[in-house]
């Protein structure tokens, strides 16, 4: 059964929005993303979280092309499914198949025992939703969190 758009959006939060990343390298960005997620008091093991994101990149770049990357992992370091949005103005070399630097990041982390089974559907919705240029541009140019979440809603509704 498809997951409702409202449910997909519930995994995002303004507290997990990084409008402009500071890091300029892939390693630096992974650390910054892990730290940003770890501002959440429910996440108490940032090192394990960072290691999980780094391990996933070893399996293959999470850059899906068209300026977008979706770093993700199941990891014991998080108690429930959470998603984060981050942007980079200059773009980061992420090893994407199209060779383009990444400007939009959607991080998805979930515990291994995530029982609602929404981890893969959320990844799928992001991959699908970010194929369209208007959706990517809407997230990239949103002036605030409201704009980002509205853009994501539009992307998920197709």
């Amino acid at each position: 059964m498809p997951v409702a758009v409202e449910e997909l959006l519930s995994f995002f939060d303004e507290a997990r929005f990084v409008p402009s990343l500071r890091a300029r390298t892939k390693a630096g960005v992974l650390k910054e993303l892990a730290n940003a997620l770890s501002n959440d008091e429910e996440i108490r093991h940032p090192d394990v979280l960072q290691e999980a994101l780094e391990a996933r990149e070893k399996l293959g770049s999470t850059g899906i092309g068209k300026d977008v990357a979706i770093p993700h992992s199941r990891t014991l370091s998080v108690p429930k499914l959470k998603a984060l949005v981050a942007r980079s103005k200059k773009g980061i070399d992420w090893g994407s198949a199209d060779g383009k630097p990444v400007k939009l990041f959607f991080v998805v982390v979930a515990p291994p025992q995530e029982r609602t089974n929404q981890y893969l559907p959320l990844l799928g919705a992001l991959v699908s939703g970010m194929q369209l240029k208007p959706n990517r541009e809407a997230v990239a140019t949103a002036k605030n969190w409201e704009g980002v979440i509205t853009a994501l809603e539009s992307a998920f509704r197709g």
Binding site: R44, D47, K58, L76, A97, P111, P112, Q113, L120
Partner: protein, 111 residues
């Protein structure tokens, strides 16, 4: 929490990544670096004391997951309440090492 628990948690995260790679491919993600990840796993496993690694491998064969989080003071593998003495430090006070569930034997991860 004992560092060995964190290393084993990272090891289990990698094992899960490897086992779920087909689902990742179906979504369009690259998994071409499997060898790189397996190398990283071997390196990480090499950093873990042999007796704990063997415990992890043995539990992994018995259960889906050898390490489970403690949520609401309960082992998420079998739901047994974790004794207070184990909750405080997240590690065995005598050995400074792993804490296991007294009922199912899984390694406990205090989130």
């Amino acid at each position: 929490m004992a560092k060995v628990t964190q290393k084993l948690a990272a090891l289990q995260d990698i094992d899960l990544l490897i086992s779920e790679r087909k689902a990742e491919e179906d979504l369009g993600f690259s998994t071409a670096g499997l060898e790189n990840l397996e190398e990283a796993r071997a390196k990480l496993a090499g950093e873990v004391d042999g007796r704990f690694l063997r415990m992890y491998e043995r539990l992994s064969k018995r259960y889906d997951r050898a390490i489970v989080p403690v949520v609401g003071h309960r082992c998420l593998g079998c739901s047994l309440v974790v004794p207070t003495s184990k909750r405080k430090s997240g590690e065995d006070r005598a050995t400074g090492a792993l804490v296991t569930c007294e009922s199912c034997g899984r390694i406990l991860f205090f989130v």
